[in-house]
């Protein structure tokens, strides 16, 4: 038996809605098999992973806290990926954003007043955008592959943060722990509800996703992004400058990743540590694709992926299996999402290998 692809005349609308759902279902099915291999009751496993975190107020708050950075980063990445700019260094931009934004509370611990938080957020965005500007510049000016340069800069950013919190930015009263001083009241992103820890990062995520969706669908810039991504030459004839768009996409996604970074540090962690992200920048790539590069879809997809973080913790506590299972689920999900996207553009046929139907040449 062989698998043949037949191009559809037009992309299937039904499939483009269904494909993320099919991918989720297949991931859960594969998850059941993995649970069986690990000797865990698959029903209990799926329950612990996907349902348990949704049953309590505090865990819903944790879900929002984890979803916020994923959504913020992923909507930026969706602009990049739509325009064929492969920024996979969002993790590094998240970190430099967090560092830049934390400069105020760490270097000026006495700083207080209404200007402090907005200044931190702006610095965070600038920090992320500056880090993203490097691969964008290397790509447009020197033709250097942005995938590799942006990824290499992740390691550099991680090491830089490590140096800061062990060296010059270490808390002087911190008993030599590799941590910065903790932020004081006016430097912490406030919580939005009385019932739990969800901070304003979640608001930024949803509001910006909606704004970005509107600008993608309703403005010329949005049209330009879609045209250049799909047909670079056609875009050039229309007078769209691909290099300028590359810079724009990188700066925007860097700024959003930086905003996610400073929101996470100021809202959830409230100090700098050697490690401030459980791989948000990489997971956001999956979020972007699961959301079909649509900012509104990304809000849903970010929540689903946030669930895999909480689910792996819950599975570890309830069933005693490794929390590494979360990463496996994330990888599987991206695999299935990409496979199912094939269904949008192609019909899949299973044909016998020796009796290939001959087709007249049209």
């Amino acid at each position: 038996m062989r698998i043949e692809l037949q191009r559809r005349d037009a992309p299937s609308r039904r499939m483009s809605l269904l494909s993320p759902l099919i991918a989720l279902a297949l991931t859960m099915l594969t998850g059941c098999i993995i649970f069986l291999v690990l000797g865990v009751d698959p029903i209990a496993g799926i329950y612990a992973f996907f349902v348990e975190p949704l049953t309590e107020t505090w865990s819903l708050h944790e879900l929002a806290i984890k979803a916020a950075p994923l959504i913020l980063i992923a909507i930026g990445l969706s602009i990049c990926f739509r325009s064929s700019n492969w920024n996979i260094g969002a993790e590094g931009q998240f970190i430099t954003g967090a560092i830049a934004g934390s400069a105020i509370p760490i270097l000026m611990p006495e700083a207080s007043g209404a200007w402090v938080l907005p200044a931190m957020l702006v610095l965070g965005m600038l920090g992320g955008a500056a880090w993203a500007a490097i691969p964008a510049f290397c790509k447009t000016r020197f033709n250097a592959n942005e995938i590799l340069t942006s990824l290499m800069l992740v390691y550099v950013a991680q090491l830089f943060l490590d140096w800061l919190v062990r060296g010059p930015w270490r808390n002087p009263e911190g008993f030599n722990f590799p941590e910065s001083r903790t932020f004081s009241a006016g430097q912490i992103l406030p919580e939005i509800l009385d019932s739990g820890r969800t901070h304003y990062g979640a608001v930024f995520a949803v509001v910006l996703a909606v704004i970005l969706w509107l600008s993608l669908t309703k403005t010329v810039k949005g049209f330009e992004i879609r045209v250049i991504g799909q047909a670079r030459r056609a875009g050039a004839f229309a007078g769209f400058d691909a290099n300028r768009l590359t810079i724009f996409a990188f700066l925007l996604s860097g700024a959003l990743a930086g905003l996610a970074g400073i929101s996470e540090v100021s809202g959830a962690i409230q100090q700098l540590r050697p490690s401030i992200s459980p791989g948000y920048g990489f997971t956001a790539i999956i979020v972007a694709f699961l959301g079909r590069l649509n900012p509104l879809g990304i809000i849903v997809a970010g929540t689903v992926l946030a669930l895999t973080y909480l689910g792996s913790e819950a599975a570890q506590i309830m069933l005693g299996i490794s929390d590494k299972i979360g990463r496996v689920f994330q990888g599987l999900l991206l695999f299935y999402v990409l496979s199912c996207d094939t269904l949008i553009h192609y019909r899949i046929r299973f044909a016998a290998i020796d009796r290939r139907p001959s087709k007249e040449i049209a």
Binding site: I3, E4, L5, R7, F81, W86, I88, I134, C138, F142, N143, A144, N145, I147, L148, T149, L151, M152, L153, Y155, V156, L159, F160, D162, W163, R166, G167, F282, I285, I286, F289, S322, K324, I325, G326, R327, V328, F329, Q330, G331, L332, L334, F335, L338, S339, D341, T342, Y346, R356, K359
Partner: protein, 306 residues
């Protein structure tokens, strides 16, 4: 053993995994497929090599397992990009994420377990040569394989019919298809070869470089290998020199840290990554040269018209 000899030995050890992974990826890319999953295949090779060496007590079986599992793991990628024609960039990333996750899950039982080192094999007579003998003829088997592979790949690509077909597939899949070459089959084999090589590279990490299992122990080497292929402009012998250059940068920062010169260790650790960016910029600057060397269908999917 002199200090120079000791330094050169560590450079060889650092360069070998880069060389193995890069020569495999070079073949994959020559067939027109860009597999960004090198990091994932490498880490699968590392845990497979370590686990099988532990189970059997034999590091050679571990090495073999690393290659086989690397190749099998690359089939996930191959099926998606070749049969289902998915986006190669995204699928390669998925392979890396999945590889890091699976290896972490599998390796949990092996954290802190003392490893089994792949011992050097001395070649009679040649290893007696002063200075050069211990450097080149008293090495672990993976070093010999890495050098052998570079020569073999170069011969295969430029001196054999099958190699010509592979390059034809990479440069123009429609013409190759019209001439009766099975584009998809060639690419499947090239992807699996790349997977096996990355698996060997991973096995080198967990059986030679640091004989133990550490989570994420590939530490970006898969990505550096990808950069090496660009650096080498898809030529096997240039991969050799590139791998040793990068190995030297990695070792230089280790020695600088040991000497305790005034630079913070994090800055020195960042050197290999910064060097990669700088080298990529330097090598890609000449657009025309890059265009000539890059396999023309690199990263583009192919659906045979029947």
């Amino acid at each position: 053993m002199g200090i120079l000899e000791a330094v050169l030995l560590t450079i060889i050890t650092a360069a070998t995994p880069l060389l193995l992974a890069a020569i495999g990826e070079l073949v994959t890319e020559r067939s027109g497929v860009l597999n960004l999953g090198v990091e994932g295949m490498m880490i699968i090779g590392a845990i497979a090599g370590f686990a099988f060496a532990q189970m059997t007590g034999n590091p050679y079986l571990g090495t073999l397992a690393g290659a086989i599992l690397g190749a099998l793991f690359s089939l996930f990628f191959g099926f998606l990009v070749l049969t289902l024609v998915t986006n190669q960039y995204a699928t390669g990333l998925a392979l890396t994420i999945l590889g890091l996750g699976l290896s972490g899950l599998w390796g949990e039982a092996y954290i802190g377990v003392p490893g089994i080192k792949l011992q050097p094999v001395a070649i009679p007579l040649l290893s007696e040569i002063p200075f050069f003998g211990p450097l080149f003829f008293k090495q672990d088997i993976l070093f010999y394989i890495s050098i052998g592979l570079v020569c073999a790949v170069s011969y295969f690509l430029f001196r054999t019919n099958a190699g010509l077909k592979l390059r034809a597939v990479g440069d123009n899949h429609h013409s190759a298809h019209a001439l009766g070459v099975n584009v998809i089959a060639v690419r499947y084999m090239a992807v699996m070869f790349g997977g096996a090589c990355a698996g060997l590279a991973g096995a080198h990490l967990s059986l030679v470089y640091t004989p133990q299992w550490v989570e994420n122990m590939s530490a970006g080497r898969g990505w550096i290998a990808l950069a090496l292929v660009v650096f080498a402009s898809w030529r096997p012998y240039r991969v050799l020199s590139g791998a040793y250059l990068f190995g030297a940068v990695g070792i230089a920062q280790l020695h600088a840290q040991a000497l305790g010169i005034g630079i913070p260790s994090q800055f020195l650790s960042a050197l290999p990554y910064i060097a990669t960016v700088v080298v990529l910029v330097l090598i890609s600057r000449n657009r025309r040269l890059t265009l000539i060397n890059t396999p023309a269908t690199l990263g583009k999917g192919f659906v045979p018209d029947r």
